[in-house]
C-alpha cells in the first residue's frame, strides 16, 4: 500500500515536471509581447525595451525556465506582468471563489445524482426509471453555459431571488458570498448531476448482476437491503472515478460560467491572463490546476483502496 502510494506520488511529480515543460514551451510560442501590450499604441520603442528589462523578458529561455521552476519549488510563483503583484496572491484570491464554487457544485451534483441513481436502479424498467433517465439524458446534452443563461434570466433578472452575478467577496459576509455562488453552482452542478446519476445507475445495475448479489439474496436479504448493503459500495468505484474527473472539470472548466456570472475566479483569471499575455500568471494557474488534477486523481485512487480491499495490497 505504502509502496503503491509512493509510486503514484513519484509518477505524479514526473507528470507535473513534464507538464511544466509543456506549459512553458507552449506559452513561449504564444505570439504577443506583454510589455508592448501594457504600454499601448503610443509607446516608444525604448519604453517597451525598458519595460521588457524590468519584467525580465530579455533573459534567455532556459534561464527563465529554471528561475521559474526554482521559484515554484520555493513557493514563489513570480510576479504578475500586468498586476505587478505576486502571482500567488492573485491565485489565492481567485481560489477563494473557484474552490467553493467547485465544491458546492460537486456537492450539489453528488447529493442529487446518487439518490437519483439509486432510485432509478432500484426501479429498473419502470416508468419512474425511464422518466428519470430521460431527464438525465437531456441534462447531459445541455451545454452548461446555455443553462446558465436561462438561469440568470429566470432567477436573477425576473424573479430577483439571487444576484445576477458578481462576487461581493467573503468580507461581505458568508451568506452574501454564498448567495452569489448559488446560480453558478446550479448551472455547473446540474448537468454534472445528470451524468453522475446515469453512471451511478448503470454501475449499480452492473453490480446487481453479480453472483454475490444472488448470494446475499439467498441469505434472505430484501432487494432494498441488498441494494444498500452490497451493491452501493461496489458501485462506488466508477462513481468515484467520475467524481474525480468532475472535480477537475469543475475547478478548471469554469471559464465560461465565470464569464456568464462575472465571478472573479481562476478560470477568468487565466482567460484574461492569456489575452493580456500575462504569461507568468497563466503558467502559475495552469500548474496549480494540473497539480490539483494529479492530486485529485491520487486521492481517487487511494479512495478506491478504501472502498475495495482487493486494491489495498496492490504492488
Amino acid at each position: 500500500m505504502l509502496n503503491y502510494v509512493s509510486k503514484r506520488i513519484l509518477i505524479g511529480i514526473l507528470t507535473l515536471l513534464a507538464a511544466s515543460i509543456v506549459v512553458f514551451i507552449v506559452l513561449e510560442i504564444v505570439p504577443g509581447d506583454p510589455a508592448r501590450l501594457m504600454l499601448g499604441m503610443n509607446a516608444t520603442e525604448d519604453a517597451v525595451r525598458a519595460l521588457q528589462q524590468q519584467m525580465g523578458l530579455d533573459q534567455p529561455l532556459l534561464v527563465r525556465y529554471f528561475s521559474w521552476i526554482g521559484g515554484l519549488l520555493t513557493g514563489d510563483f513570480g510576479k504578475s506582468y500586468t498586476y505587478s503583484v505576486p502571482v500567488l496572491n492573485l491565485i489565492s484570491e481567485r481560489v477563494a471563489v473557484s474552490l467553493p464554487l467547485a465544491l458546492i457544485s460537486l456537492f450539489l451534483s453528488t447529493i442529487i445524482a446518487i439518490p437519483v441513481g439509486l432510485f432509478s436502479a432500484s426501479r429498473r424498467g419502470t416508468m419512474a426509471d425511464s422518466g428519470t433517465m430521460a431527464i438525465a439524458q437531456v441534462g447531459v446534452a445541455i451545454p452548461n453555459f446555455w443553462f446558465a443563461l436561462l438561469l440568470v434570466y429566470v432567477f436573477a433578472v425576473s424573479l430577483r431571488l439571487v444576484p445576477a452575478g458578481g462576487f461581493p467577496g467573503w468580507n461581505a459576509g458568508i451568506w452574501a458570498g454564498f448567495k452569489s455562488l448559488i446560480l453558478p453552482s446550479i448551472a455547473l452542478g446540474l448537468p454534472q448531476a445528470a451524468i453522475l446519476a446515469r453512471v451511478t445507475r448503470s454501475a449499480l445495475l452492473d453490480v446487481l448482476g453479480e453472483d454475490y448479489i444472488r448470494t446475499a439474496r439467498a441469505k434472505g436479504l430484501t432487494r432494498r437491503k441488498v441494494l444498500y448493503r452490497h451493491a452501493l459500495r461496489n458501485a462506488l468505484i466508477p462513481v468515484l472515478t467520475i467524481l474525480g474527473l468532475q472535480f477537475a472539470f469543475l475547478l478548471a472548466g469554469t471559464i465560461i460560467i465565470e464569464n456568464v456570472f462575472y465571478l472573479p475566479g481562476l478560470g477568468r483569471l487565466v482567460f484574461q491572463a492569456i489575452t493580456q499575455r500575462d504569461l507568468i500568471v497563466v503558467e502559475g494557474v495552469v500548474m496549480l490546476l494540473v497539480a490539483t488534477v494529479i492530486l485529485v486523481n491520487l486521492l481517487v485512487d487511494l479512495s478506491y483502496a478504501l472502498v475495495d480491499p482487493r486494491l489495498r495490497g496492490r504492488p
Binding site: R214, L221, R233
Partner: protein
C-alpha cells in the same frame, strides 16, 4: 411428508420452455442428486425453489416446502425462508462473495438478519460455523476479505453462509465444478458431514453422475427440462433401465478403443520432444522500494521425453505449473532456464521466423471451445490459420482441399466450413479446434484440458476422436489434465506434477492403479469413479 415436494413445475421465459413439468422431492436428511447436462434446466429448478429467477421468467405448478407452496408465497415470506430454512451454495466461488466485505460480515449478516442476534453473539456463531467448515478462526479471522482466500476456501465460506442457521434444506448448485478433483472431494465430504449432522435435506446438482454417485441417496436425471429417470441411487445406476441414464453412465466411464500397436511409429532417431531441466520463475511481488517476495518457481527443473506417436498425460492440481509448462513447449512463453528440443533441434532460443517449421509440427488445442475462435471469422478461415506456417503459399484449391480433409478427419460436414463459430455446438467447436490443430499434419499436439469444459457425453466423443487420430495419423500428444479419467482413457504414460516439479512418471495404468507419490495418491483418491462408488454403495447396503 416430504421436506420439499415439487410437482409439475413449469418455467417459461418468453417463448422458451425451460422446465416442462418437473416432479422432484427431498426428504429430511435425504441427499437428492439432480443430474443433467448443460441446458437441462437443473439450475433453473434450484432458482425456482429460491424464487430468485431472473426477471421475465414465469413459473407454474407447485413447489411445497414443509407443506407451504413457495410459488404463491409473498416476497416477505421468502425472505424469511431464504438463508434461514433454505440455504443455497453456488457454482462459482470466485464471484459468489462480495469483494468489499469481510467474510465475517458476510456470514454474520444472515445470522443477525434472521435471529436478531447482537453483533457479538452473531460473531461468536460466525466463528463457530467457519470453524466447522474448515476455516479455524485462528488461521482465518473474521476480518479476512474474500480475495485473500483460495477458491476452495471461498466455497467453504459460501457453505458457511448457507449453513449458518442450520437450514432444513440445502441446495448446492454444482458446488465443485469450478474446483479441481482434490478440492471437489473435500467439499463434497464437507457437505455430506454437515447434512448428516443436522439432518438437512440436500438437493445436490451436478452434470456428472460419477460425482454424485458416492453420496446421493437418490438421483433425478433431467434432460431438456424433463425428468428422464428418478429413483434410488444404487438401483438407478446398477440397473440403468432408462437409456439416457445408461448413456450418461457409460459416457462417464468411457474409455476409447485404441489399437495396441500405437507405439510402432517409434523411430530410432530419439525422442520427438525432449525437455531438459526446464525452469520458469516469476519475480516475486515487490514489497517495498527494494524488497521483493521470493521468486515463484512455476516450473521447477523439469525433464522428460516424448517419443513420436506417444500419448503422454501431464496431470496435477490446478496451479501446479502444468499450463506454464505447456506454454513453454509451444514457445508462447520463455523458459528461465533449461532446454527444449523438438525433433532433435533446440527450439527455446529460436527467433520467431525460425520457429515456423517447428510450429508447423506442433499444434495446440485449448480448453474453452467458446474462446478458442475469433467470432468474426468463418470456420474455413479459422481452420486454415496454421497454413500460414507453410513455407509456400497454397493455392485456393489446395487450401480448400486441406480444409476439407481436416474437417473430414474430425467428422464435420464440408458444408459447415462457411459457418461462424457461434453456429456450432460446444462439441463441434472442439472438433474444429482439433481440425485446426491437424491441418498442418503436425507430429505433436499439446492439448490443455481439451475436454474439461464439455458435457460428459460430448467428452466421450472428443476423447474417441483424439484416440482415433493418434492411431491413424500417429500424432503424439501432450495432454494436460486434472482428470484422471481422461488420462486413463487415451494416454500411454502419465507424469504427475506438483508444485512445479514432476513427482512421478510411468505407464498410465500402473500409476493410476498404484500411485507412489503423495500428489499422485491424492489425485487418485479424489477422482470420482462411478464403478468404485457403485461398488461401495452396494457393499454398504449389504
Amino acid at each position: 411428508m416430504n421436506l420439499l415436494e415439487i410437482s409439475k413445475l413449469t418455467l417459461r421465459s418468453g417463448a422458451f420452455e425451460a422446465l416442462k413439468g418437473i416432479d422432484l422431492s427431498v426428504r429430511t436428511g435425504e441427499i437428492r442428486a439432480l443430474v443433467g447436462e448443460s441446458g437441462s434446466g437443473k439450475s433453473m429448478t434450484a432458482l425456482s425453489i429460491m424464487k430468485l429467477l431472473p426477471g421475465g421468467a414465469r413459473t407454474g405448478g407447485h413447489i411445497r416446502f414443509d407443506g407451504k407452496d413457495l410459488l404463491t408465497a409473498s416476497e416477505a415470506e421468502m425472505c424469511r425462508l431464504r438463508g434461514n430454512e433454505i440455504g443455497m451454495v453456488f457454482q462459482e466461488p470466485m464471484t459468489a462473495l462480495n469483494p468489499v466485505k469481510t467474510i465475517g460480515e458476510q456470514v454474520a449478516e444472515g445470522i443477525r438478519l434472521h435471529t436478531g442476534a447482537t453483533r457479538a453473539i452473531a460473531e461468536e456463531q460466525t466463528r463457530a460455523i467457519l470453524d466447522r467448515v474448515g476455516l479455524p478462526p485462528e488461521k482465518f479471522p473474521l476480518s479476512r476479505y474474500p480475495h485473500e482466500l483460495s477458491g476452495g476456501q471461498r466455497q467453504r465460506v459460501v457453505i458457511a453462509i448457507a449453513c449458518a442457521l442450520k437450514p432444513r434444506l440445502l441446495i448446492a448448485d454444482e458446488p465443485t465444478t469450478a474446483l479441481d478433483v482434490v478440492l471437489q472431494a473435500q467439499i463434497l465430504d464437507l457437505l455430506q458431514s454437515l447434512v448428516d449432522e443436522e439432518r438437512m435435506g440436500l438437493l445436490l446438482i451436478s452434470h456428472d453422475l460419477a460425482v454424485v454417485a458416492g453420496m446421493a441417496h437418490s438421483i433425478t436425471v433431467l434432460r431438456h427440462g424433463e425428468v428422464m429417470d428418478t429413483g434410488e441411487t444404487t438401483q438407478i445406476l446398477s440397473e440403468q433401465t432408462h437409456p439416457y441414464t445408461r448413456q450418461l453412465a457409460q459416457a462417464s466411464m468411457h474409455v476409447p478403443e485404441r489399437t495396441p500397436h500405437h507405439l510402432v511409429h517409434t523411430t530410432p532417431d530419439g525422442p520427438l520432444l525432449a525437455i531438459r531441466n526446464l525452469t520458469r520463475t516469476y519475480p516475486g511481488r515487490r514489497k517495498g522500494l527494494f524488497g521483493r517476495d521470493p521468486d515463484f518457481r512455476a516450473v521447477d527443473d523439469v525433464t522428460f521425453d516424448i517419443k513420436p506417436g506417444q500419448s503422454t498425460a501431464l496431470v496435477g492440481r490446478s496451479g501446479c505449473g502444468k499450463s506454464t509448462l505447456a506454454r513453454m513447449v509451444l514457445a508462447l512463453d520463455h523458459p528461465t532456464d533449461g532446454q527444449i528440443h523438438f525433433a532433435g533441434r533446440r527450439i527455446d532460443k529460436l527467433a520467431p521466423d525460425d520457429l515456423r517449421p517447428v510450429r508447423r509440427n506442433m499444434q495446440v488445442v485449448f480448453q474453452d471451445p467458446y474462446g478458442s475462435f475469433n467470432p468474426r471469422h468463418k470456420a474455413e478461415r479459422l481452420i486454415a490459420e496454421p497454413l500460414y506456417l507453410l513455407d509456400r503459399e497454397l493455392s485456393d484449391g489446395e487450401r480448400r482441399d486441406r480444409v476439407h480433409r481436416a474437417l473430414e478427419r474430425v467428422g464435420i460436414p464440408r458444408a459447415d466450413k462457411d459457418k461462424y463459430p457461434h453456429e456450432f455446438s460446444g462439441g463441434q467447436r472442439q472438433r474444429l479446434a482439433i481440425a485446426r490443430a491437424i491441418i498442418t499434419e503436425p507430429k505433436l499436439i499439446v492439448a490443455d484440458e481439451p475436454v474439461s469444459a464439455l458435457d460428459v457425453s460430448i467428452r466421450a466423443q472428443i476423447l474417441d476422436l483424439f484416440a482415433d487420430l493418434n492411431d491413424r495419423l500417429g500424432i503424439a500428444y501432450l495432454f494436460i489434465t486434472h482428470d484422471l479419467a481422461v488420462a486413463r482413457a487415451i494416454t500411454d504414460t502419465v507424469m504427475v506434477m506438483s508444485e512445479g516439479k514432476i513427482v512421478e512418471r510411468g505407464k498410465t495404468e500402473e500409476i493410476l492403479r498404484q500411485p507412489l507419490s503423495e500428489a499422485g495418491r491424492a489425485l487418485v483418491r479424489a477422482s470420482p469413479d462411478l464403478h468404485k462408488a457403485l461398488a461401495r454403495r452396494i457393499t454398504e447396503q449389504g
